[in-house]
């Protein structure tokens, strides 16, 4: 009888002022990954609201081997947060997710299952297929999202339906490879990661996820964001 290999999953959660959300998300991860070997790596950028104190309390409750606090002095950006977290990851796979509960840990088992079934290098969550969805977006937001998506699909042929999503599972070596060649910031960084992975020929699978936007009103999409996005698209068009 073949020995079933047990894999370990490193979950990297970058935080900034997520004092309450980090505790909620840790509880939910433990709730939904009961029989899984995992570690949570919190990369906190010097939050002034006491996020790190809460993480230390959580370490007390759940164990310092399950929750790693790898903080940084100040806000240094998402890409470098992943790189920093990756240095401390001891899993075979790495999951990246947001700390604000827009990504629900209940989908983690489906990411893991999909990867085991298909041996994919990357499993990315998509909000735009049946079974997935978004709550909390008004018509204008949906319009810009759709328009951006159609434009990106036409220009880049990215091979995934949700380019800017940041709820993903990577084989650790694949993440290390892809992240080393990415230079963008913000959500263009997420796009660059998945486009570069497609260009490198990595096997990418998708799972539907639901996304509840709780910061409606504060994450406005203004003119400057649209310009940044278009610049990002052109950059990706020319360099990938």
């Amino acid at each position: 009888m073949a020995e079933e290999k047990k894999y370990k999953y490193s979950i990297i959660v970058p935080t900034y002022n997520e004092r309450l959300n980090i505790a909620l998300i840790v509880y939910l991860i433990f709730k939904h990954l009961r029989d899984v070997d995992f570690e949570i790596i919190v990369v906190d950028d010097g939050s002034p609201d006491g996020t790190q104190e809460i993480v230390k309390q959580l370490q007390h409750l759940y164990g310092e081997d399950r929750i790693l606090l790898r903080a940084r002095a100040k806000k240094l950006g998402l890409g470098t947060a992943y790189i920093h977290g990756l240095k401390h990851a001891t899993g075979d796979f790495v999951v990246i997710m947001d700390a604000d509960l827009s990504h629900h840990p209940k989908y983690l088992p489906s990411f893991i299952k999909k990867q085991l079934e298909t041996n994919a290098s990357i499993v990315t969550g998509t909000r735009y297929v049946k079974g997935g969805g978004v709550h909390g977006w008004n018509l204008m937001r949906k319009l810009t999202s759709r328009g951006a998506n159609v434009l990106a699909q036409t220009l880049l042929w990215p091979g995934v339906s949700d380019l800017t999503g940041s709820f993903r599972l990577y084989k650790k070596s694949v993440l290390e490879d892809v992240i080393s060649s990415c230079v963008s910031k913000g959500y263009v960084f997420q796009m660059e990661m998945i486009v570069r992975a497609t260009r490198k020929g990595y096997h990418i699978e998708e799972v539907p996820i639901t996304f509840v936007d709780r910061v409606f009103g504060t994450s406005k999409l203004g003119g400057s964001e649209i310009v940044e996005y278009l610049k990002g698209l052109v950059y990706l068009l020319l360099t990938t």
Partner: protein
Amino acid sequence: MKHVVKILSLVAAVSAFWITLLQAAIVPQSFTWLLPIYFVVSLGCYGLLMVGIGIMQFPTCPQEAVLLNHDIAEAKDFLSTNGIDIGTY
């Protein structure tokens, strides 16, 4: 091969086809001259159509907000009974 090279080769191939059509004059030249414009306009219309369809079929999940609130209440309950001081939010 860089993606932009793939796109440019496609553009080159289509342009070559268009020029051949112009020279061979199987189709009236006045029509052939307008083909690129027809193509760009159709592409634009196709794009708008895809955006429109996408918005109509945009998957929403209002029940997820409800479920999330339940999860948050459950989590807060557990955390406060286990001594995690999450404060008043």
